[in-house]
């Protein structure tokens, strides 16, 4: 996994250049928005993958970290005039600490138990934010408008700067996850995934490495949350803390191929435009049709192609050789 062939490197460079050139060629607001959402969910999928793909901690509670990131930077900006970039780091740290706090009691849970515990945790966070006056409760918060600049992390006339910021975040996340997985920590995580007992027997601290994975994953997801708040400029519990967001993150990773670096990116590039475009095509009349399509897709993928699209592609690639 660690070594790349020249052909792979060339492929990644071409894709990256194409993505950098995209806003220069395609001018519409909506395609740019779809691409931004694609990057954002790809980033969260990559972050989820550290937990679910490599360490078999199937978290269905990523929305909690996403929301903590979004709320932290927004509250800091609104009440204390803290720059959103600092808010981003603070939100990430808070999310990582929350992840650790919840990770310690859950560290012995496996499989289904972990999945349900993560849902329970995210629901607690959602219910609390929904009733907490200080964070706007159910009415939500509107971000104060600052003059547009990179320093203020706010742009009004165009979405293109958001595009590049999110692309940079995604590349950063992929790099971090790649770095972790090719180093010792990644091998430990995979050893734990294969067999808890064996890994313990080899002297790998099961709890510690799982905690590291949760904290990194939470930090990255919270970064995406701050980005989302700065991008949409409005947030309430229903838009950042709900279960469907967590599920979408899992699906992105699962559809592309859990446990592979690029899998979540492939998953997001299929899933996000699919849902964004069906929503536009069907309009408000077709409420829920995009989600129904999703449901069917999940059923088919898990029943007939459980290794995801990336698994399918590598299988084809191997056969071609």
């Amino acid at each position: 996994m660690g070594k790349f062939t020249p052909r792979q490197i060339a492929l990644y460079v071409v894709v990256l250049v194409a993505l950098i050139a995209f806003p220069l060629v395609v001018k519409g607001t909506f395609p740019t928005h779809v691409m931004i959402m694609f990057f954002m969910f790809a980033m969260m999928g990559v972050a989820w993958n550290l937990l679910g793909g490599y360490a078999a901690m199937f978290s269905f509670g990523q929305a909690a970290f996403f929301g903590i990131g979004a709320y932290t930077s927004t509250i800091l900006l609104m009440n204390y005039h803290v720059n959103p970039w600092i808010g981003l780091v603070v939100g990430g740290i808070l999310a990582a600490l929350t992840g650790a706090a919840i990770g310690i009691p859950c560290s012995n849970l496996r499989g289904h138990y972990f999945a349900i515990a993560s849902i329970a945790f995210a629901e607690i966070v959602r219910i609390c934010f929904n009733n907490w006056k200080f964070v706007g409760a159910a009415e939500g918060l509107s971000l104060p408008l600052l003059p547009e600049s990179l320093g203020n992390f706010m742009f009004h006339s165009t979405k293109v700067p958001y595009y590049y910021i999110m692309l940079a975040f995604l590349v950063l996340s992929i790099f971090i996850c790649w770095y972790i997985t090719v180093n010792r920590g990644g091998f430990y995580l995979r050893a734990i995934k294969e067999s808890h007992e064996l890994a313990k027997g080899m002297g790998i601290s099961f709890v510690r490495y799982r905690l590291y994975a949760i904290m990194v994953s939470a930090f990255l997801t919270a970064m995406a949350g701050t980005f989302y708040a700065q991008y949409i400029l409005y947030l309430d519990p229903e838009s950042v803390l709900i279960l469907p967001i967590s599920v979408q993150v899992v699906l992105v990773a699962m559809l592309g191929g859990a446990g592979t670096i690029m899998g979540p990116v492939i998953g997001a590039v299929i899933l996000i435009p699919l849902s964004e475009y069906t929503r536009v095509w069907l309009g408000t009349k077709g409420t829920g049709v995009d989600m129904m399509l999703y449901g069917v897709l999940i059923m088919l993928i898990s029943a007939y192609q459980p290794k995801g699209v990336w698994g399918l592609l590598t299988a084809i690639g191997k056969r071609a050789k």
Partner: protein, 286 residues
């Protein structure tokens, strides 16, 4: 003060029995197949809508819809098992976890499309009114639903302990390979457990439709709570689910009473997290 407290306890007990019935259906599937049916809450919602439409179109009271709801949900469970769940049984853990999420998302959104997200209610059910014992008020439909839930839970318990098929299900739950060696057709047991689990939630849905709002999102909350009950009671333990269901019902109403009703579900989820921290296998799990 203390009378109010008793009233809350009674309310908690009444909802708790229904929770138990919902959770028992889920725990059977979980115990036998090691699969969480994330669509369990949506099955409940479907059953409530079946009951609602039977009432609206044919004037059939929910109490008489019970056999129809049970039968249709049994069939639904059988189909979902045959065409989806049986395909992932040997697949990766994540596929097993996610496949029923797909079913859930599909059913919930199809319901929104077909029936709009609006709240519906069965206007004039046969069973209405309250019994009063001094200051304690007992809603008659809730009492009937709870008593029915207890009876069904008991019947299931007897079926599993006494009948040959029931013993085969329990044997498979304990050890799939040994059961297979003893001549149990485990694939048939899987299908049957999934169908029975769905039928149980079908009964619960018919009961619930007598006094609760009927809307596509109703499955979400009940589904989440039943996962917590099952995990709290212990993996695949029917008795555990029964006890945990009652416990959660009481905690929910008392939590709402002593703190703030807005936080009652948060308290339930927190109780679950604390329990699995101390006892990861749940109350009666092993």
């Amino acid at each position: 003060m203390s009378e109010q407290l008793i009233q809350q306890l009674v309310n908690g007990l009444l909802i708790g029995f229904l929770y138990s019935l919902i959770a028992i259906g889920l725990t059977m599937i979980w115990g036998v197949m090691n699969i969480i049916n994330f669509a369990h809450g949506d099955f409940l919602m479907l059953s409530m809508f079946i009951s609602f439409w039977l009432y609206t179109l044919y004037g059939l009271d929910p109490i008489f819809s019970i056999p129809v709801c049970t039968g249709l949900l049994f069939l639904l469970g059988l189909l979902i098992y045959k065409y989806l769940v049986s395909k992932v049984m040997t697949g990766p853990a994540l596929a097993q976890l996610v496949v029923t999420f797909g079913v859930s998302i599909f059913i919930a959104n199809a319901a929104v499309l077909l029936w709009t997200p609006d709240f519906k209610m069965i206007e004039k059910p046969l069973l209405t009114g309250t019994w009063s014992f001094g200051t304690i008020q007992l809603s008659i439909p809730k009492v009937v639903a709870s008593a029915g839930s207890v009876l069904v839970s008991l019947a299931l318990f007897l079926f599993l302990r006494k009948s040959k098929t029931g013993k085969a299900i329990l044997a498979t739950e304990m050890n799939r390979n040994s059961a297979l060696l003893m001549g149990v057709n485990t694939d048939r047991v899987n299908a049957l457990s999934f169908a029975i689990g769905s039928a149980l939630v079908g009964i619960a849905g018919a009961f619930l439709s007598m006094y609760y709002y009927i809307y596509p999102g109703v499955g979400g909350t009940f589904g989440l709570i039943s996962f917590c009950i099952v995990a709290l009671g212990g993996f695949g333990s029917i008795e555990g689910a029964f006890i945990a269901g009652i416990l959660i019902g009481i905690v929910q109403t008392l939590g709402g009473y002593f703190f703030d009703p807005a936080y009652k579900y948060a308290i339930v989820f927190a109780l679950y997290l604390v329990t699995v921290w101390i006892r990861p296998q749940g109350l009666l799990g092993w």
